[in-house]
Amino acid sequence: MISIDIEKSLNSHNNLSVLKIAQEIPAGSITKIYGPSGAGKTTLLKVIAGLTKPEKGKIRVNDTSWLDTENGISLSPQERKVGFVFQQYALFPNMTVLQHLRYATNDETWTKQLLTIGKLEAFADQKPAYLSGGQQQRLAILRAMATKPQILLMDEPFSALDPDIKTELVRNLLLLWKEQGTTVLIVSHNAQELEGIFQREIYIAARRS
């Protein structure tokens, strides 16, 4: 169970707005986060991952407090170790596909399985600059999955994929998430995208502070 109750000011489109959210997300569920641009969807994921701090709030994951601004608790991203798929992929230009996965995990069998799921076996020795947009996006997903995270945060993770590849990839990911009990939060601005896979939806509205 992830329990979130946070408040963070945002500076978007030159207007000061605030992200205010209180939600409980069951473990092992797949949740869609949607809402207008600038409402704070990406910021919410970054707050959960520990990459940015809210002004006030609490985050509890199972029995562990990840964040409690009143009591000065804030676990580092390394301690939270969530899987994170960045909207712009954030791939390492110096590393090949295989090196990306090996940087995240020492499990060679798991690495090979990930390459197969992402259909990137033939590109294992390629650096991101030589991959297509869709291949880069798949690598970003595989890298985030490589650590077998308890929580997976995905920011527009399927936007560059062909429909056929997307369908097959999502089917394989769903099996893996179920097997590993992963709690998944997916940010999407497309209301119809991936219909049917979500157990929950969170709408984030832009609020003026």
Binding site: A49, P77, K81, F84, F86, F92, P93, R143, A144
Partner: protein, 223 residues
């Protein structure tokens, strides 16, 4: 032609570059991470040698490390080390004088990397140090090479600071730029020309190598 000033200059430039790589990488990384008044002050101090007359810097270093008082006296009394008019003194002066040439390009390159690169590494459980070594540093390789080359080339051409703190002791502190000055003073223009040509050639080859390595993308020292 006496080759000792040339060899001494190359030795000084090589040692200064290696020392500044060791000092400059962590300092540039620290400066690139976030802004604070304290960091701004440190950055301003590091940048001072770019704009300060070398003779002024040399004068203050001479005062600071004079064996008669202050740090210089303490170093002589406790460690039996004298920095003024010695080769170690030249190294210290060169390190201070070339500091902005090493730190500037590296800090700028680190700041231009998307923050999400380091963030992605942190979410994989990697420490800041691991992230710096495996992700950030390999992606600013060209800028590190540019910084090291600029530092090397800049040290080759030092004159004012070196003269103030090192003087003109043959084989100890008499570097090539001082040998040129000395030869001109003695109206030995052929020796001055020989030293100058060698310095010019080494510097030109060094700089052109960087441009070729970086495929014409070498950064300016102020970027």
């Amino acid at each position: 032609m006496d080759l000792s000033p040339i060899l001494l200059t190359l030795k000084l430039a090589a040692i200064t570059t290696v020392l500044l790589l060791l000092i400059g990488l962590p300092v540039a990384w620290w400066l690139s991470k976030s802004r604070s008044i304290f960091k701004l002050i440190i950055e301003a101090i590091i940048t001072m040698p770019l704009v300060l007359p070398p003779s002024v810097l040399g004068f203050y270093l001479l005062l600071a490390f004079s064996p008669q008082h202050g740090i210089g006296k303490w170093l002589r009394d406790v460690f039996d080390v004298q920095l003024v008019f010695s080769f170690p003194g030249l190294i210290l002066a060169s390190v201070i004088y070339s500091l902005p040439f090493m730190i500037g390009p590296i800090k700028s390159a680190l700041q231009q990397l998307p923050p999400s690169l380091a963030q992605a590494s942190y979410t994989l459980g990697k420490s800041e140090r691991q992230t710096f070594i495996h992700v950030l540093l390999p992606n600013i390789r060209a800028s590190v090479l540019t910084a090291a080359t600029l530092t090397f080339a800049h040290t080759l051409g030092e004159f004012g600071v070196v003269l103030m703190i090192g003087g003109n002791i043959p084989g100890v502190t008499r570097v090539a730029s001082i040998a040129v000055y000395d030869a001109v003073e003695n109206q030995d223009y052929s020796a001055a020309n020989a030293y100058s040509l060698v310095l010019f050639s080494i510097t030109f080859i060094t700089v052109i190598s960087v441009f070729m390595f970086n495929k014409y993308k070498a950064k300016s020292p102020l970027e």
